[in-house]
Symmetry: C2
Subunit: 300 residues, 2 copies
């Protein structure tokens, strides 16, 4: 599989008073249609579930990971085949459609699928709070985990992503996501113009290979509701972001028993939820200068 | 209108071997439903067009700007009212639904709306290239503009966004978008957890105030296809990004006659399309060391 995920074009580089036309690399962005096929073979039907703007490559993994993140796929036993389809583009022969065919007998509730899609790519419906809408989905809280990870290992996770990017990303335009074991070992790393696609690709890679999803999801950017929800749906108990989390990502992490870490640097980070999965030395815990139980949330 | 767009919560800050529980600010993220109401008053119907995860505030502007960016709204004359609806949340009394009511007699083609939504939040449909899918929409190429902007003014645009963020963003989790005149004067700046929402808010602010959209859209992050398309649909001829553009953003800019600039710093930037709107001094143009006409695009 090639790693060519950029396009070369002439651009005008302006630097102070000088300008120069020269070649530059751009991160590829193209649409991918994700279809699901279901029902008995003789009367099989298919439906387009989503169209996403992604960087071509690892498309079957993206489609499978997307369906895991939506709670539609739960086990590889449900899947008969995953095929790329449609006309081919570019030197790499990219195709812009992937069809996931379910085994005969595997049932999906199309109404639920519709509702699920609504509540996940979006979450709230008029008149409900976002948390109420989330309860419509069938995601279970994550079970407690037996392991703890030490702060040095957490601080080192983003550098693993950056090392992988140094090889692949010649454009500065790609986000990275990686799955790691609870010892901090990299299991799979993928890149994409869309953060959510990079997450779908790593989840789908493990799913299609029949491997455990992994303990820790690391993302190069911020932690939104959408990424936290994908982690929970995929059974990943810890999300480590290089950037800031949103309020809803933190609320969802807390509600579903996940660990959410942000602003991750080699020598420090913030734990927003699920601190019990981080090995903190009690004797190095600074006594709060204010009574934190008095910090009220602004919005409920 | 309050500028409170964060939530305060206790977090665990880990720094080297020390840890401390302390309060922190998180960027608010909550769902917003965008509805459109249409038809004669007696038989008026409404439809949910989108649900987006946004930072509450300027919701009516977000809804209007979204509909402008989708090519559904083109003139303020089409609009009878824009109301926030639904239960109120938080100290600010946020509501999570906005209904845009069209004037009686204003027609929208729901099929086209459906198709449009498909092609813009997504763009490609199986078997078509993204560019073919784009041609399904009704966006017109941008007319040539009479003005040129000098490089120093372009280089200074991101600092205007950052100055506004220094005031509002205490979370590190918000993206900013701003509309500027062709002299580089800030017209309106907005923030959101989602880049596309920040763009919708600035476009909607100008639209609802009955003002010209502005000449230059500045965004704090990367330039994706989606943002470039919103600029074109809103009639904004120049998009200036602090980060990298994607391949499709550049292709779309070129096709529709827009200017796209990325990696913008005070003393330099890259022009990916539409260089004629930047005042470059011919005597300071460095002769290319290679024949740029020989740079072939990798993917067509």
């Amino acid at each position: 599989m090639s790693t060519q995920r950029f396009l070369t074009r002439p651009i005008t580089r302006v630097s102070g008073e000088k300008s120069e036309v020269r070649p530059d690399h751009l991160a590829l962005e193209e649409p991918l249609e994700i279809q699901i096929a279901y029902g008995p073979q003789a009367t099989r039907e298919w439906k387009t579930i989503a169209i996403t703007m992604r960087t071509p490559g690892h498309d079957r993994e993206l489609a499978a990971g997307f369906l895991v993140g939506e709670g539609i796929l739960r086990s590889l036993d449900q899947v008969e085949a995953v095929h790329s389809r449609g006309p081919r583009f570019g030197e790499e022969g990219w195709q812009h459609s992937v069809r996931v065919t379910l085994r005969p007998g595997v049932k999906i509730d199309l109404d639920r699928l519709q509702r699920n899609f609504y509540t996940t790519s979006s979450c709230g419906v008029c008149g409900k709070t976002s948390m109420e809408a989330l309860e419509l989905t069938s995601f279970s809280p994550l079970p407690p985990t037996s392991w703890q990870i030490d702060p040095q290992t957490i601080g080192a996770l983003p550098s693993h992503l950056r090392e992988a990017q140094a090889v692949f990303d010649q454009t500065g335009g790609l986000h990275a996501a990686g799955l790691f074991s609870c010892e901090g070992k990299a299991l799979v790393i993928r890149e994409d113009v869309g953060r959510h696609n990079a997450v779908d690709k790593v989840v789908g890679a493990q799913f299609l290979a029949g491997r455990e999803t992994g303990s820790i999801l690391v993302v190069s950017g911020r932690a939104s509701f959408e990424l936290m929800q994908k982690a929970i749906a995929s059974g990943i108990p810890m999300l480590v972001a290089v950037g800031a989390p949103s309020s809803l990502a933190v609320e969802v992490a807390e509600k579903f028993g996940a660990t959410l870490i942000g602003f991750t640097k080699p020598n420090g980070f913030n734990i927003y939820a699920g601190a019990e999965r981080v090995r903190l030395d009690a004797k190095n815990q600074i006594t709060p200068t204010i009574d934190v139980s008095k910090i009220r949330e602004v919005m409920k």
